[in-house]
Symmetry: C2
């Protein structure tokens, strides 16, 4: 199909499609006769993935490019998983050598017996949050760490179960990448819903208190 | 202190400090004698929080502004919690009325007995991810939903435990906001680490396979 059809079917403007080609997120179309460029269903599927990664996953263009390279290069599964792990909407620089957060996190991983490299981008991010809690005078918030770690492991097991069930190696690579990137947003959304349920259960307030914010749960049932 | 001292102690450039004041994230300094503006320890603490929300939490300026308004306005706790729940690094428009994702999610919440309004921003985000899985032809990934939901509830209970333990109502408001925003990143980081552990355990590969990506776990132990 032509770029105008691809744009209509995907809901992505032609200028954005060209931008994604320039940024090497989307393979170029085929040069057909008469100076026309044509696009296939594979382009449509990739466009959907690009939009999901950028809009819902919150990835930068360069993170998305690295992730697509892993999908396209047919790398070993564990390598694709490592690349997917770098795809974070918010990343942090490696912690300083005297980082209290890094030491706290390393001690937690040691106690849990988790194999993980200090170069794992998740390590830098989690250590940074712990350091921020300390800098904000809120070390008391670290009481959540064991529940977070156990829940993260539960989620990771579910992710890998879904990945292993997805079949061929190419499919597994796609699965780990999609599940890692979009899974952050899926979990964040469910956590907001769970917060509302727990807050509502423990700290009930009259519906009027929500005026101008968002609707009170009881009002909608 | 003067803006130059505040900049030095916080590591934030004077131009950024002025920008945060203009954007109403940071209260203006006090006008002292001789056309000087002075800043207090409260400004330093707020600057730390601004940087944590923007850099680590991934909030937009307008999300951060709404969250600080809730902290500063001394709203009832449940309202602060509702405002904090809107603070997502990636948000989604409310789902279309025929959204398969919204229907799937509503059925899940019904089964779990969770009280939550469809206007909860987490609902829109989670429904959008489910719709994306479907659009990508990956409905098989929805097998993760029960584990995600149970883990999200576990994390939310831990969040509210930490909040309830934090004391005065003002302190509780601050806690729920900080814990909601930075907790997403803390969990995402721990999930990446858990992925590495589970991948390493289930799909071992030789260390050379990681060349150019990130270090293999065994190499660092």
């Amino acid at each position: 199909v032509r770029i105008s059809d691809l744009s209509e079917r995907s809901g992505v403007a032609p200028a954005s499609i060209k931008y994604y080609v320039r940024e090497r997120l989307l393979p170029p179309g085929e040069q057909a006769s008469g100076n026309q460029t044509t696009y296939s269903d594979a382009h449509l599927a990739r466009l959907r993935l690009i939009r999901a990664f950028l809009d819902v996953g919150g990835l930068s263009i360069s993170s998305a490019r690295a992730v697509f390279a892993a999908i396209d290069d047919d790398v070993p599964f564990a390598v694709a998983a490592a690349v997917a792990s770098t795809a974070l909407p918010n990343s942090a620089s490696p912690p300083a050598s005297d980082s209290h957060g890094a030491a706290t996190l390393a001690a937690l991983l040691e106690r849990l017996g988790w194999h993980a490299a200090p170069t794992n981008p998740g390590f830098a991010l989690a250590a940074r949050v712990i350091d921020d809690y300390t800098a904000l005078g809120r070390d008391d918030l670290l009481t959540v760490l064991p529940a977070y770690a156990e829940s993260a492991m539960r989620v990771a097991e579910a992710d890998l179960d879904a990945t292993a069930a997805s079949g061929s190696p190419e499919r597994m690579t796609e699965t780990v990448v999609i599940g890692t990137v979009l899974g952050d947003s899926l979990f964040a959304g469910l956590r907001r819903i769970a917060h509302e349920h727990v807050t509502y259960t423990r700290f009930p307030v009259p519906p009027e208190a929500f005026n101008g914010y968002h609707q009170h749960p009881e009002e909608t049932r």
